[in-house]
Symmetry: none
Amino acid sequence: MKKIMLIEDDADLYALLKYNLEKEGFQMVGAQTGKGAIDLCRRERPDLILLDIMLPDSDGLDICKGIRARPELAHIPIIFLTARASEADRIVGLELGANDYIVKPFFIRELIARIKIQFRPQSAPQRTLKSGILELDRSSCRVFRDGQEIALTATEFRLLEFLMARPGVVFSREQLLDAVWGHDRAVTDRTVDVYVLRLRQKIELDSTGPGYIRSVRGFGYSFNEMSQAQENSERLASA
Amino acid sequence: MKKIMLIEDDADLYALLKYNLEKEGFQMVGAQTGKGAIDLCRRERPDLILLDIMLPDSDGLDICKGIRARPELAHIPIIFLTARASEADRIVGLELGANDYIVKPFFIRELIARIKIQFRPQSAPQRTLKSGILELDRSSCRVFRDGQEIALTATEFRLLEFLMARPGVVFSREQLLDAVWGHDRAVTDRTVDVYVLRLRQKIELDSTGPGYIRSVRGFGYSFNEMSQAQENSERLASA
DNA sequence: ATAAGCGATTACAAAACTGTCAAACTCAGG
DNA sequence: CCTGAGTTTGACAGTTTTGTAATCGCTTAT
């Protein structure tokens, strides 16, 4: 459960937000004053801070700055809630390290949606390609079969990566040369055959039956799409 | 340099945004139509998408859904630009996976600030990086192996810092030059080899077997991810 | 059945890559 | 101005990777 710290001096708005956000499943802690907000933060370690800019005793912008300056708190997302709608106010707020800036009056449901965005795991760009027990990790340039690393050369890796990223699609030798070797390269298309062979020798479990790479007579090659059933049976075969 | 894709049918607004964002240092690509936006995305691989919701030929919400549905594009942040200001519209947009929702008319500078938020590294950089008995302290610019300080030069330190902060990820010599030496620097990529050599001489325990820095033939170098088991055995070996 | 066409396989020489070394260069401080 | 640490380049050798040609073997069409 996520813990949200709410710093807001208007008692009505404070209560309204507390009620609605608790109903949404958040754990709320907070203060109606800016004094000691950073210490409170250090004690409570909230997952997000909702911060009013105009507080009676201190400036929300200063609190934001203070939080961003402490390494142990700096990562906490901050959302400003404020009536200051001028361009300058917005820019300052956002450039001070806030993650969002919501102008009063606002819709509660929009606030909730924007809070959830902060908690949304921003999915990393697809790191790994998987098919059955075969796994290709783009960032580390490694390939695993059933958890065991398979050593591939750079060209082999790029070819496999290209095909695995587009399962089922058939590519001519020329297309593969363009994609993997580069448009300018002057390379015989028979070269592709050799690399497909080398890949097969390294990644296929056995030479009987259809494997990962499919030859399409007269057209080229493709990476075999695997149905769930096939994937399962293969996983068994390797065990 | 970050690449932004702008999909906006209003020619005036399109030109205005293109001009201002290019001035801000972003590389702009775009379309004034929603048709084929996803294909364009796949080709261009932008780092962020600015998306008008009301397009003459298609719905921005559908485009957003389509992008979130493709694994290779799903990670790209999307900011909606729209005149639809109703609560329902905002909620739908945000819950569809958009990262921000800006209502027209808006301030260009606010848009820029909100774009920069998307590019901001979300988690605070760690003060110290550790891997096995190797420890790098960013604030004091020092490196320790098993508590014992290792003297590194500034460039050696930056290279090690860059690699240690991204364990397992392979970088080409060119990427390393960009990151450690700076984009402008005119330096041969053989320089990287020499620094890797020197780093290895300084930080590796012995020259047998794989150490901290992995050479990936044909690609570049990476810092070896260490499993807990490896870390422990290494700690023993050094004791 | 036969020939033609195409993919699979093998072997080999050329090219590329990395680790290493030593020399040249830069630049700040004494 | 000299010195020395830090940086960069070029060269070299050992190894791996790469592309090609030649051959084999299967499939298809005649």
